[in-house]
Symmetry: C2
Subunit: 336 residues, 2 copies
């Protein structure tokens, strides 16, 4: 059973509709839920499981800490909110090395400080031998903005991305191919361009730094829909298409030019690289739609136009690239 | 290394003081953290790990769902807040039976509805073989009240408890002794009094129903300090004593009369039962201090007086029962 199958069984059981008007501004099913607290607070949670979401021979505790914060903060950003707090819950084999736990904590603290978002609490549990699970909950403040949902894309809108596409997926693919970035941090001057490309992609896979400043900027600019790209462009873009009842018609040339050319093509080649641009998971970039002419121009939080929203045809809501449905799909954390 | 040792290493690393005034009303270290969202929102998280926090031969998924919600809601209540929302994060072996997951979900939904508190989101991850971890985050609204901290107890205050003491610990002890409640739900009419006592204690251990309505009532009544009893009366009362710099002088006779006499003594006898009253974990009752004469009288959310707050003596802040420091301590989830 896939994650979405299971969630579609579970979510209705919580009977959120029974609570409508009792403080739920946005119920389950979007990037984050919004609960009023007089003014609203955005809340979201995401976990990482050792051996599933990271491998100790590739990632340090510091990497894991940065990544689990990034995943959560990008969900807050995808609503148009600014992160305001984090809760951290760790379930770990009591034999887990203290050094590793401290390294994790430092990574979480680093990510939290980068997002200007304090860790305000947490929980620690013992887990069976070998198990380490890190769950983070993030809160965000819309600062008076309306939350940007997945369902607001309208024909005529422009589709744009903040951040990169496929870097995390490409970094993972490079690890799977046996290339391991052994540079101490970022690549040095005397590496070849390809070595630098491998290094930067693997670095981004281990410890992504999503463009969360772009979320509130998009909301201020009038974004009609927005999503955090966690399961790949095709899959997450498809979620906007479905929720909005439209077709996202992406421009193949723009995608190749802006996202394939560069480190990904250099490190993986055009074919494998293109697959990562379309379907690479855990990127945590933001995908949004804007009314024509209102894509924000902001150097700190730039947006790249990659397509248009058009009326859904007889095939129903869908995402197309160069007029065709791409054969790649995305990433299913539960099945994977 | 114990939980408190590890936490005392980790919490300072988050550098919460660096964020003071940036929206943190109550930093880590109390039952729950408070983050402003214009008006404030109370947030807390607590997890349950299969094989550590429950056993499948004793507890159903429904029981686990009720318990994990109860643990979180009681932390919200212990601040004086009303719960407003829950996030649920499940990391599970993909081979976990769907029936079990659905039963868990129903238990969570039951607990949430009982607390009038919607589940507003969550996260699902795959975990190694045999592993199931359920993490819940709860949010609460103080509705204009000041949060009730652990640090406000003052000499002359009265110490009181809402809910029972030792029921969950006694239920666990009875399971450990090999007595397993096989009644379908609550005890029936033709059971002996002891069988009924065993059944009700084991039922409470599996699926506690803490008196969360008493938290806001206590805050409205002027409670000077409050804590959720998750690690036993002695340990959690000791936390109020330490945070407030006082002695909690508990009345042995009042404790025996109100909490030992009844199901616990009937099921476990006086000696073992008394240990549970003092040190039994996972009760999730509320312990609070009130200025003399202001203990709330509220039939739906009653408080039982069990002692007084006195000046700390030369031994420093501590908890005493009948004038002596009890030899039992409490429950350490990480060491245990």
């Amino acid at each position: 059973m896939s994650e979405s199958d299971l969630l579609s069984r579970i979510i209705p059981m919580f009977g959120v509709s029974a609570f409508a008007g009792q403080g739920v501004v946005v119920p389950p099913g979007d990037d984050a839920a919004v609960v009023t607290a007089r003014d609203s607070v955005v809340v979201t949670t995401d976990s990482m499981v050792r051996g599933r979401d990271w491998r100790d021979d590739w990632s340090t505790g510091h990497d894991v800490g940065i990544k689990v914060v990034a995943q959560n903060v990008s969900d807050v950003a995808a609503m148009g909110a600014v992160p305001t707090g984090l809760l951290v819950s760790v379930a770990a084999d009591p034999e887990t090395s203290l050094d590793w736990v401290i390294d994790l904590t430092r990574g979480i603290a680093f990510g939290a400080e980068d997002a200007r978002c304090p860790v305000v609490g947490g929980d620690l549990s013992s887990a069976p031998a070998g198990v380490v699970i890190v769950a983070v909950t993030a809160f965000g403040d819309l600062e008076g903005r309306s939350p940007v949902l997945r369902s607001g894309a309208r024909p005529g809108d422009v589709v744009a991305v903040a951040g990169d596409l496929g870097w995390s997926g490409a970094g993972l693919r490079l690890y799977e191919l046996g290339l391991v970035d052994t540079t101490p941090s970022r690549p040095a001057r005397d590496h070849t361009d390809r070595e630098k490309a491998v290094s930067v992609l693997q670095w981004y896979h281990r410890s992504p730094r999503p463009p969360w400043e772009s979320g509130p900027v998009a909301a201020d600019g009038g974004a009609t829909s927005m999503i955090d790209i966690s399961d790949g462009l095709v899959r997450d873009g498809g979620r906007i298409a479905t929720a909005s009842g439209v077709e996202l018609a992406l421009d193949e040339q723009a995608l190749r030019e802006h996202f394939l050319a560069g480190p990904i093509e250099l490190a993986l080649g055009a074919e494998d690289g293109w697959r990562q641009v379309l379907a690479g998971g855990e990127e945590h970039s933001l995908l949004a739609t804007f009314p024509e002419g209102s894509v924000p121009v902001d150097e700190r939080a730039p947006w790249t136009v990659i397509g248009r929203v058009v009326e859904a045809g007889p095939e129903g809501p869908r995402l197309t690239v160069g007029g065709a449905v791409p054969s790649v799909t995305g990433w299913d954390h539960f099945a994977g």
